[in-house]
Symmetry: C2
Subunit: 324 residues, 2 copies
């Protein structure tokens, strides 16, 4: 089995070799730009990994893996417009560097370029792979829409939140793994199990991200610690805290959320204190473990040599203990 | 052969039957909304027509025809954001009725829904049909980008303009006809010729639209007569006038274009007067006829019964003499 870091390097090299037309420059330059500012290439690497696990040739899986990466970056380009984000991975976002119209249209063509790459599979897989891609892509749009709606809602249920992160974040991991598995020659049953592994792992991963946003080591966590608290983002932690807080704690939490003249560090400290009183970190860790367990259950059922399953298990363990 | 109006009615019925998920409502409602506000369903009707011309079963061509219509409406939804358009076919645009974020995201999912419909072709045609769809879709994005760039450029060449309208408007007609022809059982050669017929006809049609915007009967022309003049839109007429105007006329034209305190009707009258002095209408008509002739040349070469070709010829004649 190829090391994860080597798979990521294969993807990075292949991304660097993608070339788009010179004209119209403002349409295509943003594609090269957003692809060049990096990211961990985790989704496409997972696709290659799945292919290899089932004995397939990684080279055949590179174009669909790139399709997943191009698609992912298309969603970032459009999400950044919607979120009014000035920076992405420390670099100016496309709509800031050019303008919103450029970011809309370049994103559109980027989605189409994703389809073009995804079509570079053998004929017997074409329909099935594109069906998975369509389902994945629709899911991500639904997840983004639901996420935006949460911003203006006063109450969100845990179940709704899990469904949102499943759609927005997890289905892409499942889709990437499933496509890779099929290219590698997996049976339908095994491909579905691997997809389920990816989705459950993706949910666990997002829950960990919610935890790290509050409790992560500022040195290791890539983003501003407490960023979710500052923006009142309805994460698992906040939703659970709003559900559990009663009496004085409820009053305190709500006043922290609605305070307009509070310094960011005071707000973060205050909300974190409420979380601590309610043992929210433990609640979130338990939820995270529940989804990790579901992932491992799916993994167990896959018809693969134990050694290969161990590889996936190690990958998941590595993903879920990260403190960065 | 089925009458064009009947083909349009078949499409309208099929559009009415498309149903999208209930949730998330704000993601899917705009799709039903924009599809419901009409339009002539000309592009999908052309796809059905092409299928029938080659002896195919129209019913098989309905999903790909809907794909073309859904795709077209996706481009309208995003173009309206970029153009800041308040109205589309007399109704509030999606970004005005909801907001820009909704229009971006609903447009994205609409493009994916277009792919899902386009995939409803037989396996042996799947790759080829999707390749045509990709090429068409990329072309439309390129055309829109070039069109936007023209707004901020002082000089645009006629050749560049023709290339822009080919991409933005004409390739969809070509693509729709080609896909329909292939579903109907046309040879590759005939499908390509029919595609070329559609592209050339599309260019001629857009040039006619440019003419009608200035010289059309206000009673019949659906849009505000002179709208292009008011907005300084670089149409064939304006580009040609800027090319031909010398001396006093050039000064007059440029002062009309840069005047900020001129009433709309005075500006329209003034620019139209310059056009008349330069015989611009005739130049545009000649150009239009050149592309119509190219369309008819392609048509002649198609291996179809004369009766069927006459049908296409009549269709094109009908399209190009419209004064509405």
């Amino acid at each position: 089995m190829t090391e994860l870091s080597d798979l990521q390097a294969i993807i990075s090299d292949a991304v660097d070799k993608i070339s788009y037309p010179q004209y119209p420059e403002q349409l295509y330059e943003p594609l090269s730009y957003i692809l060049s500012i990096g990211g961990k290439r985790m989704r496409p690497a997972l696709l290659l990994m799945a292919c290899e696990l089932f004995g397939g040739d990684i080279n055949k899986a590179i174009p669909p893996a790139l399709a997943i990466e191009v698609f992912h970056n298309f969603t970032l380009m459009h999400d950044d417009i919607m979120d009014n984000a000035p920076l992405r991975r420390g670099k100016t976002t496309v709509h800031e560097r050019w303008n919103k119209n450029v970011a809309i249209l370049s994103g559109d063509v980027m989605l189409i370029e994703g389809y073009k790459l995804m079509m570079q599979v053998e004929n017997h897989l074409l329909r099935q792979v594109l069906d998975i891609f369509n389902t994945t892509a629709v899911g991500v749009c639904e997840g983004q829409q639901i996420d935006m709606e949460f911003e203006t809602r006063s109450v969100v249920e845990i179940e709704e939140y899990i469904n949102m992160i499943r759609l927005k974040t997890a289905v892409v991991l499942g889709g990437a793994l499933k496509i890779g598995a099929l290219i590698g020659g997996a049976t339908q049953v095994d491909a579905d199990l691997l997809s389920d592994f990816g989705v459950q792992l993706g949910i666990a991963f997002q829950l960990q991200d919610d935890i790290l946003d509050v409790y992560g080591d500022p040195e290791k966590f890539g983003k501003q610690v407490g960023g979710d608290i500052i923006s009142n983002k309805k994460t698992y932690l906040l939703i659970k805290a709003l559900e559990l807080a009663k009496g004085k704690l409820a009053v305190e939490l709500n006043s922290l959320l609605s305070a307009s003249n509070l310094a960011n560090n005071e707000k973060v400290a205050g909300v974190t204190n409420v979380y601590n009183e309610l043992d929210i970190k433990q609640h979130a860790k338990t939820a995270m473990q529940t989804y990790a367990d579901k992932a491992f259950e799916a993994l167990k059922k896959i018809n693969l040599p134990e050694k290969h399953k161990q590889y996936l298990q190690d990958f998941a363990d590595g993903l879920l203990v990260r403190e960065n």
